[in-house]
Symmetry: D2
Amino acid sequence: MTVRVGVLGATGAVGQRLIQLLDPHSEFEIAALTASEDSAGKPYRQAAKWRADSPIPDDVAETRVTATDPSAVPDDVDLLFSSLPSSIGEQVEPRFCEAGYVVSSNSSNARTAADVPLVIPEINADHVDLLEVQRDERDWDGALLKNPNCSTITMVPPLAAIDEAYGLDSIRVATLQAVSGAGYDGVTSMEIIDNAIPHIGGEEQKMEAESRKLLGTFDGAEVHWHGADVAASCNRIATLDGHLENVWADTVEESTADGVARAMADLPSIDLPSSPEQLIEVFEEPERPQPRLDRNLDNGMAVSAGGFRETTDGVQFNCLAHNTLRGAAGASVLNGELLLENGYL
Amino acid sequence: MTVRVGVLGATGAVGQRLIQLLDPHSEFEIAALTASEDSAGKPYRQAAKWRADSPIPDDVAETRVTATDPSAVPDDVDLLFSSLPSSIGEQVEPRFCEAGYVVSSNSSNARTAADVPLVIPEINADHVDLLEVQRDERDWDGALLKNPNCSTITMVPPLAAIDEAYGLDSIRVATLQAVSGAGYDGVTSMEIIDNAIPHIGGEEQKMEAESRKLLGTFDGAEVHWHGADVAASCNRIATLDGHLENVWADTVEESTADGVARAMADLPSIDLPSSPEQLIEVFEEPERPQPRLDRNLDNGMAVSAGGFRETTDGVQFNCLAHNTLRGAAGASVLNGELLLENGYL
Amino acid sequence: MTVRVGVLGATGAVGQRLIQLLDPHSEFEIAALTASEDSAGKPYRQAAKWRADSPIPDDVAETRVTATDPSAVPDDVDLLFSSLPSSIGEQVEPRFCEAGYVVSSNSSNARTAADVPLVIPEINADHVDLLEVQRDERDWDGALLKNPNCSTITMVPPLAAIDEAYGLDSIRVATLQAVSGAGYDGVTSMEIIDNAIPHIGGEEQKMEAESRKLLGTFDGAEVHWHGADVAASCNRIATLDGHLENVWADTVEESTADGVARAMADLPSIDLPSSPEQLIEVFEEPERPQPRLDRNLDNGMAVSAGGFRETTDGVQFNCLAHNTLRGAAGASVLNGELLLENGYL
Amino acid sequence: MTVRVGVLGATGAVGQRLIQLLDPHSEFEIAALTASEDSAGKPYRQAAKWRADSPIPDDVAETRVTATDPSAVPDDVDLLFSSLPSSIGEQVEPRFCEAGYVVSSNSSNARTAADVPLVIPEINADHVDLLEVQRDERDWDGALLKNPNCSTITMVPPLAAIDEAYGLDSIRVATLQAVSGAGYDGVTSMEIIDNAIPHIGGEEQKMEAESRKLLGTFDGAEVHWHGADVAASCNRIATLDGHLENVWADTVEESTADGVARAMADLPSIDLPSSPEQLIEVFEEPERPQPRLDRNLDNGMAVSAGGFRETTDGVQFNCLAHNTLRGAAGASVLNGELLLENGYL
């Protein structure tokens, strides 16, 4: 028995990645694709400018796209994956939840809302039960679950390993982010060839807030954010996929480079279809991980880390994840699997 | 009256940049070019694989290259610019100094030696008088002056401005460095297209040590290094020229983003031919400076900064400089001008 | 005495290049800047998203942009440079000409119209007198002069040299075009990083038609197009500026590689302010010209050529020109200088 | 029963690709890896600087590398894949053949020798029987079979389709070649970022000669080369893998764009393990094929084509193939499969 699922915002870059992941998925079956009013009624092949390096799945190609409205989505669809622009997500996601749909969303709206769980299943799966609070408070039959921003997902698993082993005090992180993170048309070639851009609007604030929520504790009623002092600096560079990050983590207890590497290597994964076998791949070679070489580890769902050095108050290291797989579409699918596993569908 | 100068290691990438700067220089006249034994005796045109986007100056093209040995350089040459590989610099630079030549060197050897001044003229010109101590101790008629590593030069002027205004406590810096920093053949295209490399051997250590020596104080006898805690993380990206850096500076006194920006904009330059009019160009736009747009400011000799934000214990900002001009060949020429100005020639 | 000039479509990529060239121009003075209705009334600084690597000239920055309409442009402006999208150029350029303005246009509309001269001054300056026919036929006080497409401009000077020496029979040309040719936002980074696109809509047809008109003869009444058989294949690659082209030219008389190279080197330039001293720079090194190394020759106004080889029926060679200077803004300015020289202002 | 095979030059870029293809191969089993004297005796993991984006197969990693000498390779190895530099291949390949080994070689030496078959199995499998002549003439127990240059392989299948349908008269081809074609260290980043190089030493001559041999006919005694007039122009661009080519083919009989596209789509593949199901993938979209999107079709063994247009004397089109798979390692493996199938092992 598979769950019938839909994709909200199916024509965008993350929407296309979602389709690539959902089409062959063993537990999910694509039953609805939504987009803007302009596309409604058209077959997906015509509505979307398909840009992946594999062809559109045949049945998806012929599926008629509907408007992004609860009335347009069949009632027997149980789970919706949302990759809407946040301004639209903010408006329509609550309406879908009210109408009884469970939404696993990659959109940035509401990620830090008190009653919306923000989850990386291998890290804080227990936060999903904040949905009980959410349903009570909002009187929803549906539910809204968020995954974090792609640059946040990259560093949080390594940080969680450090936090458990030594306690986290202060975090400084510089990112080297791929152009796909801005969507297909987000970065022009003239901006980025022989260049780098040391600013991604709102990204630093997302990393600083979302990481503390993810590393926080859920007491059954609310999430207590982690108290670490986080400051991020975000750069766009000329890579296609894969966010690379340089992190300094000051620890509460004294930490060593070896100890931190081991803690990361030992961090357990979780038993869900899309989870990687090894959550964090730890490299001994100081020049790894690198975006092109390591972004596809474990189908793009593993995080990798390397370059461990001790500093005065902690350690520094580098980490990497595939931003549109582990950091976006794959993260949403994984959250959908968690919802199924935990009985929310 | 111009000073007759030579270039040690004239065929390499920095050597070529030195020739581009020295050929039209009003105070210096190229009178000697040295290279490896293989090249000795050949006209420069033949010895060097010229790769600049301007042609070889005609007279330089016909100059015969000599071996890199004091006996091969004419006695009436007063000043030598050295861009030798550090393993060779280590061996031959002292021999040139012993033979009476004054050497302005970009090579990384001996930069942190106690009696070798490491100088950025706009920042710590007074350190040049450490040469008196050097001559006493080493019994040299010549002298050895060093400029720092390209990635160090980029961040030290901004840091000096902060140090003067608020005092520096702790520094974290992530670099996005151009491929030219590794020399013409240093980074292959297969390594860097659609990729980034989070490690540059020895670079982090250079930034951590050299910055503290540059920001230190010279008491007439020795340089007391600055006590700040510096930790660097160095990345190579697919830019041709221009090192971009993300810096977090924790300050002794409470600092503001505005105050730090103003301190940088107000940092005076110095009156030497190659010095920029405005030492640090401060941008209000958060997405600047960018390598391709800003590396050539003031003939590639200005540093630029932007993206100021307050953090818990200080500020974060981005800075940029042209790595083979401000960060290498231009830095050596500027040091040569300082030596002339201060009567060391 | 300078001529007062205006720029139609002043906020676009070519418009910005025009301003960079016109601001310091000895014969022209910027007196009007037009853009879309949205921008009308705003100072240029605010209307344009300035992207050049030099700052906006101060007086230009404060100039108020007007609508692109004859009624909005001062009467004492004599010459207009047009870099409008062709769909708009098609509508408004004739209205400006009717209103008495002389227009030097880079827009692609009307380039092949029988009574509109298409001119590269060093190649077919005599075609400018087709304006007499134009004024007669259209009853215009103004006039409309066109420069060709950037990829056409690159190959026509070398072809003209061959045509004069040996006669041209058949031409095959493959282009490797820079992203700036598509405008600032024309090519996304995801399209072009680690990629090439073997198609530029309409470009092949432009090269095939425009080259034959340019190489044609003007008999005082009409332009007789050259009869050569031209077929082009256009590719976009990840370069910022500079179109590189591989050309096969079958000649009427037997040609040699050396003879063709000499004919190109000997092709005379013309005495206008923006014309290069040497029109075609001929390289002996087979690996030149290259976009990044050679696009800026003679302020980006020279064409360069190399890689000469004999084929069964002629020769093959490579050529290069800066697409937004020699191939667009610089071409229009040069045509404006020709109009002034020839008494059309 | 698998065939025991070896790789000559196993540490190079193509050698590494060969190992990736041979390790999981159903018919071949890696039993010998050779490299230069320096590497002899070392485990492969240590001898090779592995650069692929998948890890070294475990058993290969521990295999001891031997010198590239017949005496060092076990006698029970039947088939050797050679990716030696041509200067070395020229010397040692004949010695291996003399010693009884059958060699499927990607090295460029001897490709045009009269008694050495040059084969693309889907195109001219019958040429393999030239090995009978070779064995007679050279008195070899072994045999030497060659695959063509990567840029030649890309265009020959499309040309073969045209030749069969309409007859080929004259060919002009411009290539846009990936950096991997020059080996891992062949193109520096400073050469190719924001640049293109219109010359690849010897490549044009290879394409012009090899294509005519491949399209020629074997009469049981010798190969009669095709009489078409071929002229190539070769460019290196900033792509990692995948050679894109613009081709003009003048045909003997009148051809149409549609007819040519159909002839290519209908060209049969062959029944060997590494052959693609569809030899030439034909695109209707004029902007395809593109290197990054289409190089991996059918495991990188398909050729793709598009952009069909009629010209005065024939057609023009674009084609693409993965240069280190279809164009090198995969081509050699395929030839090995053909040798097995045809009883030469």
